[in-house]
Every structure is written in C-alpha cells, then in structure tokens.
Symmetry: C2
Subunit: 216 residues, 2 copies
DNA sequence: GATTTATCTATTGTCTACATTCCGTCAAGC
DNA sequence: GCTTGACGGAATGTAGACAATAGATAAATC
C-alpha cells in the first residue's frame, strides 16, 4: 500500500496523465484556466511538478502555456481538427504498413475484442475504445517515435468526439470500416489495409467536421 | 542593449535553443552527460530553467532525461534514423501538397536562393541549408502542428549528417533532386513534386544508412 | 467625460535550501 | 575470489520564499 511516495521523480508524468485524461474526456472545457496553485493544492504537491506537467501537456497540444500567464485548456477548432486528421491519415497507414509483417493472429484477435466491445458501448467509452483499436493494430511496428506521435494525435482527435454527437449513421459506418480493416489484416493484404485505414480516418474526419460546422 | 533581462519568462526556451543548435551541429557527442549545475553555471542561472530546457529538448528527442539521473545527449543509431526519415517521407509531401496552392513565386525564389548557396557550401553549412530548403517550400501550408512536427524531424535528421561524411556523389544527387523539385513547384505540378520529395527523402535516407553501417 | 497614468493584486518565474535517489566504493561473509 | 550489503559523495527532485509580470482598478489630468 504505497500511498504517498514522497518523491519518485515521476510525479509530473503522473499529474500530466491525470489531467490528460480529464481533458480528453471533455471534463475540462476548452479555454478553462489552469492555475498552478490550485492544481498544486489538489495534487498535494508544490507548483514545481505542476509546471512540468503543464509543459508536457503543452507539447501534446492539449494546453496552452503563455509566458507569464496562466495555462488554459487549448481550444477546439475545426481547422486544427482537420490538421490533426490529415496527419493521422498519413502516419497511421505508415505504421500499419511496417507493422503488418510482424502482426500476429493473437494481436488481431485483441483488436477484434476491442472492436466487439466498442460496438456495444455508448459514446463516452466508444471514443476511448476507438483509439485503442487504432493503436492495437500498429503496435508491432517497433517505431517508438512514430507510435508516440500517433498516440498524441489520437488523444487530440478524441477530444472532438464530445463536440459532435456521434450519430448512429457514423457509428455504423465506422464499425463497418473497422471490420473491413480487420479482414484485410487477417488476409495480410498490406496495401488494401492501408488504403482502408486512410479512407477511414479521412471520412470520419470529414463527417465530424461537417457536424461541427452545422452546430456552430 | 538589453544584456540581461532579469526575467522574461522565456529563458528556458533560449537555453534550449542554444543547446539544440550545439547538439544538431554535432558539437556535443551522443551520450554526453549534461549536468544541470554545470549548465546553470554556464548560463548564469539556477538549475530550474535548465531543467525546463532539458525537458524541451527531451520532447524533441535530442536528449534523454531519465528520472533521478543526469540527462544525456540522445544516442545516434541507424534504427532511429530510419524511423525519422520514414516519418519525414510521409509528413513533408503532405505539407507540400497542402502548401502548393498557396505557394507564391516569391517563395519559390527564396528556396532557389537557399539552394544556390547550399551548392556552394561545405558540409557544416550544407546541413543547415538543406533543412532550410525543405522548410521553405512547405511553409505556406498553414498547419502549425504539422510544420512543428516536420521541423523537429528535420532537426533530429540533421544530426546524422555529421556521422557520414557526405561524399560528393550524394551531394550531387541531392542537388539534382532539389532542382527537380523546384521545377515541379514552378510548374505547379503537385503530384510530381510530392513524388520527387518522397523519393528524395527516402533515397537520401538509404544512402546515409548504408554509409553509417559501413563505418560502424 | 474621456484618456492617460499610477497603483494594487493575483499569478507566474526563479532562486535557494533541503530531501531523496543513484552509483561507485569498500568491507564483510561465504 | 566472488558476491552481497552498507556507506558516502554527487546529482537530481521538491518545497517554500521572493521577484517580476500582467491585468484590473483607481486616480489624476486635460
């Protein structure tokens, strides 16, 4: 029962991961101000590790940390959503292409399990499972930098799920595309799998962009 | 003559940029230990801003900062070099594709100027000009996240230039490819330009990888 | 009354001191 | 001789105090 490691050298990472989860889940509004002192109080620490964690999140694009001013949760805007998904649409197929020869049946099964659950879940969990599914298939690529990059993009992208009520229509299409992707992977058809993945990302992006605009 | 702003909220960024330049230029060996106190002494500041700057460089992949241990200049290894260039090979053509409609003749002229100088320079300057050339053509794409990503990859990639003596053969080929890229941009042939760019990055990567292996 | 300037408060940036961790060294035990 | 564990120095992690900044509010001037 390690309840309070007085110092582990990783408190900042821990705090960052808590805040990251909150921001991604939409628990914190875009533009919300993050006061160092307030967070220090909450996490029972000094402002120093808080500052570190805010810098980590800044790098991931989840918060904005202006010099000499308070940090804020970064805004959600259509342009940046489009940009993030343009980047995903080239990065994920690249990872998949590299991962494919290393991809085991066992790993595909894991992706199927995730997808099964995603189809039974409501939106809040769906967003997270959607991300897990995408990460599962590309994990074997053994490219740490690429994987971190993609994970970061997925986090950023996931924030937008809460803006647009994901309607039944989109969910169905998304599930179909995931199933098709799985099939292509099982057939070890790299080219087809990558093409499906790219189109899947771009079409989801486009659907949500339209939904965002019609709401705003 | 502002020689010592006691506090500007950006000292860490400044320090990071100095260290970044040193690491990229190869002035600091991979694996070299970076002591906080030593750097604090050098930059006439406390360890605090130093810590921040090391974290910044860590996010860019230029240094490694293990918990509770001293930071070191990140190692150079062929696998990570390949990874970086695989990522460049998809990110840069994407940026170029988006930038092309916005690309002005004036901006192409700037790229030409850079290329002219690169062809007259020795390797130390060449590495920097090579990066500037790549950034120049994609600048108009108006994708801050994508541009930052590419800039970071180019920094990381540039470090490897000093490992392999860039022989005449490669320089010539690189210059030819840059010229072809410029021509495609002037003709506003997006597809061709992107294809040239992708092949250029991958072939340069492959050449240097082989050079690295034969040296090690 | 509008506009500029001064002041005041809330918040961040940095410094110094101390706690903790890491790692090499050395002694003890097998 | 080799391994194990304790010790100590050197380096990092964190806390709390202080300095500097930004933004709002009040005061002064025209």
């Amino acid at each position: 029962m390690k309840q309070k490691p007085t110092r582990d050298g990783e408190t900042a990472e821990h705090i960052a991961s808590v805040l990251r989860a909150e921001i991604i889940a939409g628990d914190r509004e875009p533009g919300e101000v993050l006061y160092q002192e307030e967070l220090a109080d909450r996490f029972q620490t000094s402002r120093m590790p808080i500052r570190d964690s805010l810098k980590i999140l800044e790098r991931e694009g989840l918060v904005v940390v202006p010099a000499n001013k308070s940090a804020t949760v970064s805004p959600l805007d259509p342009a940046s959503f489009v940009e993030i998904n343009e980047m995903r649409a080239v990065a994920e197929p690249l990872a998949l292409k590299i991962a494919m020869p290393e991809l085991t049946n066992r790993q595909i099964d894991r992706a199927i399990t995730i997808q099964d659950e995603a189809e039974r879940s409501d939106i809040a969990v769906f967003a997270a499972l959607n991300r897990d599914f995408h990460m599962a298939l590309i994990q074997p690529c053994e490219r740490p930098r690429l994987l971190a990059h993609i994970a970061s993009l997925n986090d950023a992208s996931q924030r937008y799920f809460h803006l647009t009520a994901v309607d039944l229509d989109y969910s169905t299409q998304s599930h179909d595309e995931h199933r098709a992707l799985i099939a292509a992977c099982m057939a070890r058809n790299t080219e087809k799998a990558c093409a499906i993945l790219e189109r899947h990302i771009l079409s989801a992006s486009e659907k949500m962009r339209i939904a965002m605009l019609s709401k705003a």
